[in-house]
Symmetry: D2
Subunit: 420 residues, 4 copies
């Protein structure tokens, strides 16, 4: 769910030299291919639900972004690889023309996988030429958009993994992705008993400082007032969550938000999305297992629980006699002594709806036209996950998904009010 950077952020960037940016461009673009190298063209074409997109579509769309936003605007004489791709690989930019229906992305067996790779090479070559040869003025205009395109591609790198994992989870064969270049899931950290860290509250700063890249939804930096609170030093684990299930968590309405309970009833949820109950015909075993990028593995009680909806996270917290932290509390605790697992495991649901920050301003122009347009009906997640590319996360990063979403690497950390 990409958002775009604020003008202020772009203006104050410490601009890397062209050579450095070119190196980074090459690295980011190569990473997309690396994590998909184990997938067949068939794997890369499938779309398992409207919310997810095919790998091939992600590979093409991230190239489309450079073509539509950078090259078409700033590379004199640029010739499109194929005019029809402007329509096929637009995601939601209404100002950039009509779009192929989201739910039908899986029908695009053509252009073939090889053609999309050729499309990427075409865009890469043009981008290299632009970076190396653009005039000074052109460069000033284009450079922030290139930067933006790279962060945009990194966002899609995480979605590539969560989307193919969802597709594989729908296949009774439950294949393993084992994406090259992605470390084995670091979910198996040893879990000691959780500790409550006392946080003092008061007026705190939150939002991006302007130092380095940020999306515009992280701005402006502003002050907010917090009451004293406590926050857990670690994430909720699969072992913790299994106790919730064993205690009838999915059968007792009293723990659930009303919409959450309706979702439980309608969808028949009985455990996190990729948990496999004992006796499941797809992977027979007498104990719980969990499906993930490395395939089916025995449930590890000390691994962070993942693939949770917000509703489940909130119900767990209620059952545990605690609550979720707000996003301000989460951000203020980022450097708290003793706190662990703030990034790199699972995105953490907060108790904050995704509303604009005070003073939030959309950017001018096509890239900014719709910056805030997703700011309703969604919940903020903080941190980052095993699927987040290195260097992409920040303490101020605001990820967001609808409360029923379960196909992300999403888990939770507990908080509670200060005891007085």
């Amino acid at each position: 769910m990409p958002a775009l950077p604020s003008t202020a952020t772009i203006q104050h960037l410490d601009l890397p030299g062209r050579h450095g940016l070119l190196q980074r461009f090459a690295a980011v673009r190569a990473h997309s291919l690396a994590i998909t190298s184990g997938l067949t063209p068939e794997d890369q074409c499938v779309q398992s639900m409207p919310d997810a997109s095919p790998t091939k579509w992600h590979l093409a769309h991230t190239s489309w972004f450079f073509e539509a936003v950078v090259l078409s605007q700033h590379a004199a004489g640029y010739r499109a690889f194929d005019q029809r791709f402007f329509h096929l690989f637009n995601s939601y930019y209404e100002a950039l023309g009509p779009r192929h229906p989201r739910a039908q992305r899986g029908l695009l067996t053509r252009p073939a996988h090889d053609e999309v790779l050729a499309y990427r090479m075409h865009v890469d070559a043009a981008m290299q030429a632009l970076i190396e040869t653009a005039s000074h003025d052109t460069w000033l205009a284009a450079q922030p958009l290139v930067e933006l395109g790279l962060h945009h591609e990194q966002q899609h790198q995480e979605l590539i993994l969560t989307d193919i994992l969802h597709a594989f989870s729908c296949n009774p064969l439950l294949p393993a992705c084992e994406p090259a270049g992605v470390p084995a899931l670091r979910l198996a950290a040893t879990a000691s008993d959780p500790k409550w860290l006392a946080m003092p509250g008061g007026i705190v700063d939150m939002g991006h400082t302007g130092d380095g890249f940020a999306f515009d939804n992280e701005t402006p930096r502003h002050q907010t007032l917090l009451a004293p609170y406590q926050i857990a030093d670690r994430l909720v684990t699969c072992g913790d969550y299994a106790q919730f299930i064993a205690d009838g968590g999915y059968e007792r309405a009293s723990f659930w938000l009303s919409d959450g309970w309706a979702a439980v009833q309608a969808a028949g949820w009985k455990a996190p999305a990729y948990w496999i109950a004992p006796g499941d015909a797809r992977a027979p075993a007498s104990h719980w297992q969990v499906f993930g990028l490395q395939g089916v593995r025995p449930l590890d009680p000390s691994a962070p629980v993942s693939q949770l909806s917000f509703y489940e996270a909130a119900a767990y917290a209620e059952w545990a006699g605690a609550r979720l932290p707000t996003e301000a509390e989460w951000e203020a605790a980022f450097t708290a002594p003793g706190i662990t697992q703030m990034t790199g495991h699972v995105w953490q649901w907060t108790r904050s709806s995704y509303d604009p920050y005070p003073g939030f301003r959309p950017l001018a122009g096509a890239v900014g036209e719709y910056n805030g347009k997703f700011m309703v009906g969604q919940i903020v997640l903080r941190g980052s996950s095993v699927a987040t590319p290195a260097g992409h996360a920040r303490p101020t990063y605001r990820n967001f998904f609808p409360p029923a979403a379960r196909w992300q690497f999403s888990g939770l950390r507990l908080a509670k009010d200060a005891t007085c």
Copy 2:
């Protein structure tokens, strides 16, 4: 969407004497009958959509509340009017047993309207006896619940009006409700040009003071930090809104949140819910008209615009180069010099999702079991409307509806950041 009062609030109530409460009980109960006296039994039975309920159901459910929450618990020897009504007229209290499906409330032609009136009388008599004869200890326990039941009934009095108005709006004959005891719509206030009132921001208190009754979602009173802002001195009018429509407001995606634009496309919205375009066969005219409690009337440019979704309110604000106020900004401006129309016309959409206040605590027991369970996916509205019973509104009152809801008396007031 009733919420319930906090323990703290109940404990610190300045308790009225029994006599005074009995008088108020009689007055509130009578008002429900007064506003429905012009409706036939057929009118009172109909349910026009799952979100709305039949009048008869409202009349029975508000009685059920006294029976299930007060009489069954505190009136020794109370005999239910009909045991089956516990099931039929429960709304969403899971702890109080199974419920009749919400979408099928309109199928209850039996119990007949007369029977429901008899049910009300039965409950009224038992309540009178309880209030007059309860022991001191029983009274201490029951009194806050009686108080709660009256506020609960007042909430339903507004819903009675909005729900029957929706039903009538689906009838091509477009009948007028003209509810007895409800003043003619005060929408026709003269509208001068709106003025921007400058607000200083800073640390402000918000939430209920504990003085008098409040629902628990208004608590605890707490501090929050506001940046300086400006707020309009009056509501947006039908005349204002007609300019938005004439300027292509419903055809231009750039003004809309993504979900809002999708709603416009899917539902074919072209104006507020009860506006009648020139040439509509149901009420032929060459000019815009508006359907309301008094039937079809010519559009009054100086009347506040009403029956808007949050999406439309937000799109209008975007078009106007402004934004909606947050609920904290709204509450802080309640007594600002020069501000008008804060209550009594239309509920005002804010730019605040309906999240819990810091330190919010659900009540113990059945009435409190689900206090916060609607706190996801909804938007806060502030103020009150022409349909709100006298004495029911407060500056701290938090009303809430999903962002697509259009059948309430809901409008908007503009805000913007301070210019510096």
Copy 3:
């Protein structure tokens, strides 16, 4: 599902005198009021599903038919009761203008019940004047349409009963209709063991002879060729059907048509529509009960089974090692020696899709514009039911409903191929 008479049929009618027709007009119109006299205005307003219509709508629509088809065309100077009713009470005649949406008929709390009664009286008076005073030529044109209107109203008299019964079946109170003027359900006939009657087959005539009134779907009379077959002398009973249930009939796919099995799975069918299982909270008992026009009664093993879909009828027949008769077989057996229960209990599903007879011709003009337009996707039922008005059924009558319909008085009789 009214169909209309063929031209041929109309031309060859033995026309009753005006006096006789007037008497019959009065009797049929009065019967509609008689069977609804026990229903409250609330009961008469409700619509429990799109396939069913409110009683009040039926009462108005049958009057609309006389107004739109007879009076507007043939009564000079006729003044409509209310022009808006032409839109409100049209059912599916596209040539007669736009229609109120079928699924929203239950929203018409206005016109009120009393107004609809006044509408009926207005139409009755105008019809009386027409019948008594029309010129000879006018009468020749109008008389067949009056005749048609009466048969049309009789069809709706049956639907009034099945539709209100469905509405009451959705009410947990399970009220009894006990329609005045309708005999107690004749379902309790003693059931001896069924006997197979041998039928010789050969070329048989089928379709209406032209003697007396018929709908056009019964024409033309024609010949068809039947192989020898056997047909049961009586209907399948509740006792018979209970054995099918006890033998796992609803759990074994092998008995079911593919669409039928899908319906069982999707809707969770476990018994006929109005059967009440032991332990049902709505009517506690330790044995099976059946809900009907007289309310909840113990299951009578010798009563014909009713409220079955075609899918269930076909599955039962498969389980019983038999099949359903075709409509030609049914019609040829109508006067077979020893056959019983051919009319007056339940409509009998046949194994014939509702296709046009060879040589079928639609009528000219508005009444005939859509005669055959329902001839796809439906199944023929033969006979008549306890809810069919006296004198309405014929051996050639073709009733039809979609295969999943369960709210009619619909059951079955078995047939099988001749043993050779």
Copy 4:
């Protein structure tokens, strides 16, 4: 929509020698690969709607049939290629175990295309061994099932083409299939004015004679009685159909069956499924074009119209002042002097619902368990199409689809009653 042969048919087969059958086995199996050789693995994986299946699934399912029905039962010591394929590639045989959900066949990126080819080779080798080495008794039992499997595979060969064509029609690039081994569409026959051929009617035989293979739905051969009728000597052409469109065929309710008119309104049909209107952005042109196996081509007025629903065929016939033939009329006219285009162009919708023939009997055993289970809610088509494999069609062949289906090579021929 495979149906299975009757016992009687199998018993009276003139059995080919094993050598001959082996040759035919090889030819049919090779044809499946030939027609898919131009499709990429991506193409072969996609499922564009629940009614269609991926090519890869068809290739696997036809192999599954030999494995589940022949090898598992009759090849001693046969080892399954992969046990999980029994679940993955079952279509609707409830007796043969659970099935992968039909609508999720497109999610099976694994097993990979190559694996499915290996699966086919595994089955082919085992089948070859069985055919060559089975004992006499085994062969007697297995041979009819092998025969059946080959006809089953031929049915799927047509579906492979119609299903991939539907998928490609959803791709804005509108790729051409150009299946190897399938002749270019023979749609471009010259169309003279249609002539009416007079047919005498009387008692005619219909159904399969027992000479050669047939599916059981074609049996038993029986007599039926026809009135004299007329039938067109050729199919309705694109030029004919374009006149219907130009005359407002899709805007005038009077031509349509009620369900058909509802489909037109709901789906926005304005032409046959793959017709491309002038100005369509996918293939800009100023004239009508038609998409097909050879890609986008200009509309050929003399080609038979195709990709029609039954509703459209019936509406066209109504507009033309004619009707569709019944299936008995069609079959009786098969050898009428002067009749053309009875096979090899498009399947021809008849005016016959798909009901069982008199005396129809399902087979015993797994293959026959569900023979008649699709005999409700469908319409019979006769003839064959350009996509039907050589040698697969018969005059008695009963194809069937729901009345709204538009993705087959389906068109029509007109009929009418004899003028007397």
